[in-house]
Symmetry: none
Subunit: 197 residues, 4 copies
DNA sequence: CATGAATGAGTTTTCATTCAT
DNA sequence: AATGAATGAAAACTCATTCAT
């Protein structure tokens, strides 16, 4: 029983550290955030952080990779479940735009990684792979939309990457914007997929 | 005459330092690049860098801001000169896509700034202002295209920002891609503006 | 128990650093003494010094201020305890002259502070305040001596400051002198207070 | 003729540099004052300073030693000229007290030298010698005063050094004081010499 | 002679990481 | 397991001095 409780405590502490790290990395950048900052914010001792993560790098790895997998599953669930491509795409865009506004924290992390690929080679690779998987997910949806005549013709892969680029750029640009833009933006993004308007 | 030559030498050295700094910042990131690295790469002494730039920060400021102004003038020249909106937009996209591939170095700098706005507050502000100016440049072009019936309806400002986001995201994503994609991408980007296809 | 020992070790190390710093500052001056010098002399690592003092400035602050408070208490104990002013004054002078010779190290620190008040504004202020307190301590003693007719008339405050100036100057001048002078000097200093001879 | 003018210009520039250096050394200390600071304050170029003084050290040497010799001559003129010891001593004290208040700048320099003898070994030696010469000048005057019965008995040398210590200490302490104190202080200082009051 | 430019040698300070308790 | 203390390695920045023009 004591074991169980200990294990729970560990998980809570780990979560606290992750949380603090995510916030601080996002706000001040990886290099300007010290382990001490994180420890203080998480309410643990400086050295304790190293019992959960063997290095500062491992910490950001966890931070970036864990949500990545989840989000892929989530996108899959949205995309696979349904065969009305136009509506599905619109829902996906809505979800992602909301994420841009609400989850800015996580996007900042991604930007830092993508902006300094030499500092984070493995993460960069993982993100590129994520992009590929995401585009692969998009592809059949776009094709189906084209077959149904709802979407204009065009190379589904190129279209997918174009949207992916847009989505990432939105993260860079829109973070501080009021979410009033969000709605209009969705329609505008739909055009990338060739929705006739 | 001696003066002239001196001044020229100074400019050359300054340029060498800028060049080295840009390359290294882009490759390894601002924080992992030391002044010594830059000095060695530029073939000058460590301390010399400080006779040209009073601090590491001032260096990146110059690096980011100087091209920014030039590029705005350049975009203006493309956009203003002509009143065939669709063609003009296509040319603009081509130019910018080529830039993404060729000038990757500069874009990496921008990404680092945008990814760590707290570390570079002034630069972030300047980049936001640049975005606004760029979108303002786009707006009348989009309007005219809509009036001529070449482009679908839609809020010109939102459309402008959407393209700007796309362009920035392209910088994040496409840097390593072969330029085969470029052509297709242009057509795809045109859709953002509402080109009927 | 372990705690106790740790804390003791800490205090010992801190003392070692203070000691080394005092010696070196006194010998070579604040600016020519590097933290590395101090660390080596104290037998600790360079970075360790910063776990005890957050900066070189804080180090000299401690060095100067801590003994200052003690010494004031000590002077109070000498002065307050007794109502034979002449004897008390003589004892005070003796003590201080011995200090000049024995504690030269500390006086050198004071000289450096007083010689560069712009570099050490807070310390300078503290020393000025110390001077005022010291003179305030002296004042009633001088008055009583005058009432008893043992000391010549004169503004007690001015007399106090004159002695304080003398004492400080003695630190500047006598540091290298053999203490043979000390005795004679005491008698001579008594004259400042107006002892009839 | 041109030679002459050139030479004059040189002397003026030298004087400007000395002036600037004295002010800045006194205000901010030797180590915190850079050659650049001095050059700017004197209105000459950084490198020019080195055509007048071969090093920063030589600069302070000149600054300290030149007035020292003058002042000794001046004190001699005061002391030698007259055989009314008590009056002469009083005049000397007055002159020196005025100097403390008016020439604070120069005294600050001396304090810095005396406070860091290891950094300025030659200057320290010169100042010690100055002290000896000064005391030697005082000695016969004190003796004569004692013979005339105007001053109490006591070792003339010790008395001389005591006054010298007082005078130096006054420089440390009184620099910021209003000169109201000056007058009273003179009388008080006379006591060191044994004036019966 | 004056000076702008260049630089080597140094110094404080920071921080991820390790270790002993 | 948790943590306070210790530290090696590094980095930005400074400045007296030298040199070429």
């Amino acid at each position: 029983m004591a074991r169980k409780i200990n294990e729970e405590l560990r998980q809570e502490k780990r979560a606290a550290i992750c949380d603090a790290a995510k916030r601080l990395f996002a706000a001040n950048g990886f290099n300007l955030t010290t382990i001490s900052n994180i420890a203080k914010e998480a309410g643990v001792s400086h050295a304790s952080v190293f019992t959960y993560f063997s290095s500062k790098e491992e910490l950001i790895h966890s931070l970036v990779l864990e949500p990545l997998e989840e989000s892929l599953l989530f996108y899959e669930s949205i995309i696979r479940e349904d065969n009305q491509p136009t509506q599905t795409l619109r829902r996906l865009i809505e979800v992602q735009m909301r994420m841009v506004v609400e989850q800015g924290t996580y996007l900042r992390l991604l930007q830092q990684v993508l902006g300094q690929p030499n500092q984070f080679p493995e993460l960069t690779k993982a993100l590129t792979e994520f992009g590929e998987k995401f585009v692969n997910l998009l592809e059949p949806l776009i094709r189906k939309g084209q077959e149904l005549g709802e979407l204009s013709e065009g190379d589904a892969k190129v279209i997918g990457w174009t949207y992916f680029a847009y989505f990432n750029g939105a993260g860079l640009i829109y973070l501080d914007l009021h979410d009033g833009l969000t709605q209009f933006t969705v329609e505008c993004a739909m055009r990338i997929f060739g929705l006739r308007t």
